[in-house]
Symmetry: C2
Subunit: 208 residues, 2 copies
């Protein structure tokens, strides 16, 4: 089996998705840590060797002679979970799982995760004028994403099918720390129950 190294910043929910996927699958995963606040993922070496996009997470896959690098959190989760029960085999369910994962990257992460980063790690006083001007729009869009999730979870235990899939893992990562971005999770009771189901899974690991 290949050896896996996660290039990560432990504060990142995108990195945590990959660690949670590996934990639920019982796969060993070592980590190499970077501080995104000080530009450690924008060095010439990182750009040349690990990810020309200058972002973490990146999953390094060491397989015999070959070492390959896979950016994008949800793609790395897909690689690790390939062939496992975390990816449904049914054609519609598999596409529907990806639907929620694209929703996560387009509608959820740029709002829920970005406000957490700005308010919890950067600090409101340090935001640029342009960032400050976007806070309200991101608050509304983040609440819309959480409402959509809550509506779905009011009728379903998991995002797709009858058990946990990568869709749940992808959406759990930043939802369970959304209060750090100023989102009140008490407004979303079905999300609250689903968070508890996630945290009861065998081999669940908490975020650092």
């Amino acid at each position: 089996m290949a050896d896996f190294v996660l290039h990560e910043d432990p504060r990142s929910g995108n990195c945590y998705k990959i660690k949670l996927t590996a934990a639920l699958l019982g796969l060993p995963l070592s980590t190499r840590q970077y501080d995104i606040m000080t530009g450690e993922t924008r060095t010439p070496e990182f750009l040349a060797k690990v990810n020309s996009n200058g972002r973490i997470p990146v999953l390094e896959i060491r397989d015999g002679e070959a070492t390959r690098f896979l950016p994008e959190s949800n793609a790395a989760c897909w690689y690790l979970a390939s062939g496992s029960a975390l990816i449904p085999q049914d054609r519609f369910d598999q596409a529907d799982m990806l639907r929620w994962m694209f929703f996560e990257q387009y509608n959820h992460e740029p709002n829920v995760a970005t406000l957490r980063f700005w308010l919890h790690f950067v600090g409101e006083a340090q935001l640029s004028e342009q960032q400050k001007a976007q806070v309200m729009a991101k608050r509304i869009a983040g609440c819309d994403a959480l409402s959509l999730m809550d509506g779905h979870l009011a009728k379903h235990e998991w995002f797709v099918g009858d058990s946990v899939t990568l869709a749940d893992i992808a959406l759990y990562a930043y939802t369970h720390v959304a209060e750090e971005g100023g989102f009140g999770l008490g407004d979303y009771p079905a999300i609250g129950s689903w968070l508890k189901r996630m945290e009861s899974l065998p081999n669940y690991v908490a975020m650092d």
Copy 2:
């Protein structure tokens, strides 16, 4: 075989991805058109029946008694292409294809497609102050995405492996009309050659 109906606005590159996928696969696809500029995808009926997220594209799949709706352009492409050569079977290549599709939705579409929408369809004079304040950041981020693509395509004919995959289709949709958003494609020669390869594919269809 199921019948497919695409709920779309023909100006949308996200909708076009699905039409191009169906064309390359030789799959029949009928369409139902909405005008996103006048809120036709935000009506109570659309939200209740087609997509609670109020967005197109949505792929409607009519399979015998069952009718199901699949939002998110890249998930709909995945459904249509399931089992075809547009999705590599190799484990790494499949994840790497998804990596480019997530990159497209996170780094490319919100910049390249949004500027096209704002400048070509809404019109610069009609933009809100908040939108105007974001144009420069989206211009820079869009150029970064195009540069990253160009660097990859300078060394590879296709984004993943030796033939066209969904990664190419997803990235082609808004790249080939990026000049409508004010991006000069002459700066990216490897993208230019790849656009020609895309347009030479058997069964290729142009955007409306």
